[in-house]
């Protein structure tokens, strides 16, 4: 009798797939509220400032000029980066380009180079290169890997049976690419494009070094020169509006499309398209991209390192900076990915208005320049939580706010590629909801999570402004040291720090590349 009762399936009031959704929402919302703190701070500061002062500070020629710069930068850079990354991804993943594997590694490697080191490298070679053209050129070089990585991963995950099917329906290779491949890459391209756009809006070091004024550089300048937050806050307000526009454009283009495979079965291995006579001419594109993204930094760095000799290697200072940087990166990366997990799962598995709103909050929050995040956290901790002022906890929160979308994009993409049916299949094999989730989606999405940690750690290693303002007293990360030295025009002295940032970013970049391959099961 007892055994009969024990064997009976337990009755639960809610279907299993709804259990846990509420708790997940709650966590996601709490994190979103934290993330929105800096934004709230900007609006609060605006309200305190009052409309009259605010409009005086916003509607002036200087702001118009900044607006023009920022808009031109985004409007040119994002599409160029999208096209470049898509073509490179197709060439390395789906064509018989010579040494395709090699090029695909080299297209990811620039991720290891902080954006401001790119401009340091360019002005090292071409000291007169300034303004918008320089801003666009360096941004494309610095940011195309952010798009290359998700697009090449998505290309590997496409089901080649769909392309075969399209060919049997009379489509030439070019038409198959346009009508079957490209639509399926849409989400990766848009997601990556949004990320790049947000970076363009938030980056400081890259543009400060080439003296190209964007809203972000102007805010930092304002803040540093006057310590009077009001003008900076008003500029930040305009910047927030730019981010809103970017998010709206992205949401409008994205739509609500599912991209898991429908049918059963495992995708066949893809075939590579033969480039024929174009095989060698096509090499020019990866060669050019890699020359600017890797060759230029390598040239400048080696020049300064040779010029500086042994004198620039002050090991005690360098060792301390390195240790502090690594600890901060690891803690921050793990915390950021953990914070992204609830919303990543919700936005794929329970997509709703609510999950999109929460997700939008994270994007919006992360698009705030580091200086605004830092300013907000400084003000808030000083006013309401003084014990947290200049502690590791505060700086980790700042990183979470800034880098959550990096973790979110890789997590979401890999969760979306795991068909929901797998979770259900695992449940039908007698797993509890949590274990079903663990056995299927979490396992299969683990590469995405690892990529999330790596991507956000990379971001943290290269982060400068917020780190400078929030770091506990006595902290000096590699990026802080690098920036301090270049500000003193000690380009040779800064070179070891740049080299170390690159060297320590490389394993994470390699991991990222490897994991993005493993998602595709190879």
């Amino acid at each position: 009798m007892t055994s009969f009762v024990d064997n009976r399936p337990m009755l639960v009031s809610r279907p299993w797939f709804l259990a846990g959704t509420r708790g997940t929402y709650l966590i996601a919302i709490v994190i979103a509220l934290f993330a929105l703190m800096p934004l709230g701070f900007v609006f609060w500061a605006t309200a305190v400032t009052g409309w009259e002062t605010a409009s005086q500070l916003i509607f002036r020629p200087r702001v118009g000029e900044l607006m023009g710069n920022t808009l031109l930068l985004v409007i040119v850079t994002v599409p160029v980066t999208m096209i470049l990354a898509t073509v490179l991804a197709w060439l390395t993943e789906r064509s018989d380009l010579p040494f395709a594997r090699f090029w695909s590694v080299l297209c990811v490697a620039p991720l290891a180079i902080p954006a401001f080191v790119h401009s340091y490298a360019w002005i090292g070679l071409w000291p007169g290169f300034h303004g918008l053209p320089a801003g666009i050129a360096i941004s494309v070089t610095a940011y195309f890997p952010f798009l290359y990585l998700p697009i090449s991963a998505a290309l590997r995950l496409l089901d080649p049976a769909l392309e075969d099917q399209a060919a049997s329906l009379g489509l030439s290779d070019a038409a198959v690419f346009r009508r079957v491949v490209l639509p399926q890459l849409r989400l990766s391209i848009l997601g990556g494009g949004l990320l790049v756009g947000l970076h363009l809006l938030a980056e400081y070091g890259l543009y400060a070094m080439i003296r190209f004024d964007t809203f972000t550089t102007a805010i930092v300048d304002q803040f540093q020169s006057t310590y009077n937050g009001v003008a900076a806050n008003m500029l930040a307000l305009v910047l927030v509006l730019c981010c809103l526009v970017l998010l709206a454009v992205d949401a409008g283009l994205r739509g609500r499309r599912r991209y898991a495979r429908i049918g059963p079965g495992v995708a066949r291995q893809v075939r590579r398209t033969s480039l024929g006579a174009w095989r060698y001419p096509c090499l020019l594109l990866p060669i050019a991209a890699v020359f600017f993204a890797l060759g230029v930094p390598a040239l400048t760095l080696s020049r300064w390192l040779v010029a500086g000799g042994a004198a620039i290697w002050r090991m005690d200072e360098i060792g301390l900076a390195l240790g502090q940087t690594l600890v901060i990166c690891l803690v921050g990366g793990l915390a950021t990915t953990a914070a992204a997990l609830p919303i990543a799962w919700l936005s794929v598995r329970r997509p709703s208005r609510r999950s999109r709103v929460i997700e939008g909050c994270y994007y919006l929050a992360s698009s705030m320049p580091g200086v605004v995040v830092a300013l907000a956290l400084v003000t808030i901790t000083v006013r309401v939580a003084l014990p947290l002022y200049q502690t590791v906890a505060t700086i980790v929160i700042a990183y979470m706010i800034m880098f959550l979308p990096r973790a979110l994009i890789s997590l979401r993409a890999s969760i979306a590629q795991v068909p929901a049916e797998l979770e259900q299949a695992a449940a039908s094999l007698g797993r509890s909801p949590a274990r079903a989730l663990w056995a299927t989606t979490v396992r299969l999405a683990a590469p995405g999570a690892a990529a999330g940690v790596a991507l956000s750690s990379l971001g943290i290693m290269n982060e400068l402004t917020a780190t400078q303002m929030l770091a506990p007293n006595g902290t000096r990360t590699l990026a802080m040291a690098f920036w301090a030295l270049t500000s003193e025009i000690d380009y040779a002295g800064a070179a070891p720090y740049a080299l170390l940032m690159i060297l320590f970013s490389l394993p994470m970049t390699a991991l990222l590349h490897h994991q993005s391959k493993k998602i595709a099961g190879r």
């Binding site: 099917q165 060919a167 329906l169 009379g170 079957v180 429908i262």
Partner: protein, 344 residues
């Protein structure tokens, strides 16, 4: 000359020989079914015909026009061959209408009208045209995939286990609907299936493959009744295989002296095959005596395993109407109708 002509077609994947010299002829407008154990190369054959994979050697000609000749091949998009795969393979980013009109080159209005016609042809409601593929059942997806393949009026239709994901009832109706549409359009069809009943019901010609080779090719009755070897016989249904002595147009075996389909006066030892439905029961004391060893109820029929009284080493599986209730141990009399098939 036949509509599709396949000659000495070979394909290797590294060390695996997927196709080991296939010769096959398909008549215009006919239905050919390819059967064979898993991994014998059926899908590979279809993919070569469709142009998704390059052959190592051999020729394929369609309507007299060579599409594969050794290494030279017409690309898939110029062959005008429709294919429906096991999972339907609908484009997930397009609606049902978008899927069906995908390969059409006519004006939008004509395409839309034709999409509606095709939906009706495959037995689906026009209102489904606006749905997404993942809002359809498996059977509906298969029908949309068929409509999409039909939209371009292909010269040849390739079906790779298109019904295997469907349940039995839906499978039969979908198969019939698909078969009727293809017949009405006069499109030659090549169907791959694991299901022997499906194969025999659908086919004008059955092709049996094993390990990359074509073992037998002929009308279903012929292949079922006169298989080339015991393995082929077993693949197409239950078979009773017995040793026998052949002579004088007859076979002497454990079931007595049976008329055999032996040609040109062969005499000597051979293996013969009978189908279970050839064996009936006789009332009373006559016939070959046997005892019931196991009985399985199958609804309209019962499946009996019986042991011959004269030769305890021989057990047979036969079917009897289930209205006859035969307990285990009961002695019965057997009678064979039709001819025994002698394996050469």
């Amino acid at each position: 000359m036949s509509f599709v002509e396949i000659r000495a077609l070979r394909k290797q994947f590294g060390p695996v020989t997927a196709l080991d010299g296939i010769d096959l002829d398909i008549a215009g407008g006919s239905r050919t079914v390819v059967v064979g154990p898993s991994g014998c190369g059926k899908t590979t054959l279809l993919r070569l015909i469709a142009g998704f994979e390059a052959a190592d050697a051999g020729r394929i000609a369609i309507d007299g026009e060579p599409v594969v000749d050794g290494a030279a091949a017409v690309p898939a998009h110029k062959r005008n061959i429709g294919i429906v795969a096991q999972d339907g393979c609908l484009f997930p980013h397009l609606s049902v209408a978008g899927n069906i009109t995908f390969g059409m080159t006519e004006d939008a209005a004509i395409r839309q009208a034709r999409a509606g016609e095709l939906m009706e042809m495959v037995g689906l409601d026009r209102s489904m045209l606006t749905r997404r593929p993942d809002e359809l059942s498996g059977g509906q997806q298969q029908r949309v995939a068929l409509a999409r393949a039909l939209a371009r009026k292909p010269r040849l239709m390739l079906l790779d286990e298109p019904f295997s994901a469907l349940d039995t009832g839906l499978r039969a109706t979908t198969r019939k609907a698909v078969g009727d549409v293809l017949r009405a359009e006069g499109i030659a069809t090549l169907l791959v299936t694991h299901d022997q009943a499906e194969a025999l019901a659908f086919a004008d010609q059955v092709a049996v493959m094993r390990a990359g080779r074509l073992m037998q090719f002929g009308p279903p009755r012929e292949v079922y009744g006169r298989p080339v070897d015991p393995a082929t016989a077993a693949f197409l249904g239950e078979a009773i295989i017995l040793p026998a002595t052949i002579g004088d147009g007859h076979a002497d075996c454990a079931l007595g002296r049976l008329p055999a389909d032996v040609a040109n006066g062969f005499a000597g030892q051979a293996t013969i095959m009978l189908r279970p439905e050839q064996i009936g029961l006789v009332e009373g004391e006559g016939g070959v005596r046997a005892k019931v060893a196991e009985a399985g109820f199958r609804g309209s029929a019962s499946e009996l395993r019986i042991v011959l009284c004269d030769d305890q080493g021989i057990t047979l599986t036969i079917e009897v109407p289930s209205s006859r209730d035969l307990p285990i141990g009961e002695e019965i009399g057997l009678q064979v109708s039709g001819k025994a098939h002698v394996f050469a």
